[in-house]
Symmetry: D2
């Protein structure tokens, strides 16, 4: 099964919410499993998109209680590791799509870069790629983001 992580903030604005929904839907339409942090905002909208078309969604939770997951998560994974769970979200996908995002998303991009997971950014962090020692792939639409993610996984 192809696995794609979608990362982004709980405080998603309307555009990010719509993008996340579309990204989730497109991942699921192409048969990908959606991995996310399981909470609200970008995580919830992406999971909702995936479920719209019958996809499978996994939420890597900061706590232990599966009830912490948003309602679109099929399989909550309990870590209890609060922010350290970001490394699990970032590295469990074969590619990572970042939508908007704050410092939590930044930590996930950093971890994806360290472990060689391709990062596709949709209105997210712009970073010094020399320091990152890894590229960040810019996408201008959910369709492009998901296409790029699948392209990179199939290389």
């Amino acid at each position: 099964m192809i696995r794609i992580s979608v990362i982004g903030t709980r405080a998603a604005n309307a555009i990010e919410a719509e993008q996340a929904f579309e990204v989730g839907r497109l991942i699921a339409e192409r048969g990908g499993v959606l991995i996310c942090g399981g909470l609200s905002g970008v995580m919830e909208h992406a999971a909702r998109g995936a479920k719209e078309v019958g996809g499978l969604t996994i939420g890597i939770l900061p706590g232990y209680d599966p009830a912490q997951a948003n309602r679109w998560i099929d399989i909550p994974i309990s870590t209890g590791m609060t922010w350290a769970r970001n490394v699990v979200v970032a590295t469990s996908g074969q590619a990572v799509i970042a939508i908007g995002g704050g410092p939590g998303t930044l930590s996930e991009i950093a971890y994806a870069a360290i472990e060689g997971r391709p990062v596709i950014a949709l209105g997210s962090w712009e970073l010094d790629t020399d320091r990152l020692d890894s590229e960040i792939i810019s996408a201008s639409s959910p369709q492009e983001a998901v296409d790029r993610a699948f392209d990179r996984i199939n290389i």
Copy 2:
């Protein structure tokens, strides 16, 4: 989706291997998702049992490389946290079935107890339940172990 964690050692003997296979198969037959540590031994035999009947298997890996997972794992989750990943294995299931097992399994039983996940033991650790502040349910066969796990989840 019902989620059951199966825990036990990489160094499974023939009886434990057979029990793990049966437990995995029975979990999947009843529609449960199998969660395990993703490696060899009990983890692999349980996942193989689940796949025999078309179940879904999740492997919570100690490292980052999905290739670390045994071949019966559908969705490898990369933690990179080595032994600390045991807390994720132990608490992500709604019930935990322990088959045989050494100190790693012991840490998982401890974590399940802390977080209130019912533990069903099949030839595994016998512990002072006063100190554990939680019961361990003994089972004498894979069928009984899986029955007990589903019973406890449906309470």
Copy 3:
């Protein structure tokens, strides 16, 4: 610097509290650094004992806030990993002294065994050492526990 971890429950009874104090004091008198989980109960009494004689105390906290540490902790280490921090407590000492204890202490004994840290038990878990694949050294007094810990480190 010699480092010894002292583990045990927050719900220490009077005897355990006194033992923890003595263990902490004796570790510090012999120049050892005390490592513990930083909270109350056995952790606090041990740290108090160490500070009584001017020792150095480190508290590996489950959360991020250093104010979570008891008042006898010199250096709080913030993990934010809740129960997963137990692996840090258990393996950062060159030996581990367990006083009483419940399931959290059990997870720490398991981790110490996995990583080959000698465990000295003072009224703590009695475990099947075949399954543990490691011995647990029984001590009947704080003095004996600390002596055994130093003996093992100096081997």
Copy 4:
């Protein structure tokens, strides 16, 4: 005890190495405890600087083996959590000084921002502080970096 985390890459260049040494020395001169990741590069040079003047150094290691620590570490803390240990390094200091650095350092800056630890940058990441929702304090010398760190802690 004042605790300051120094973060930066293993692949330090000559300037970064010198800066790290100075930062470590100045922290220790002012009585601060140095916390770092315990390995080579910036971590080692900072620890060496602190020991030059008799400071206390703590290394939060990615693995379990205390021998992984550089020779200037007084107290190795074993996490076994590989990259997830970055959250421990970043949040255990009351302030964080970043010297140069790659993606690992980036993850630490993100975590420091999340948990409200002031970050002082010496030739390190320049980030969109709106997204970070936190400021990064620029310093142009080791002296300024350490002054700023102590200033922020004493607020």
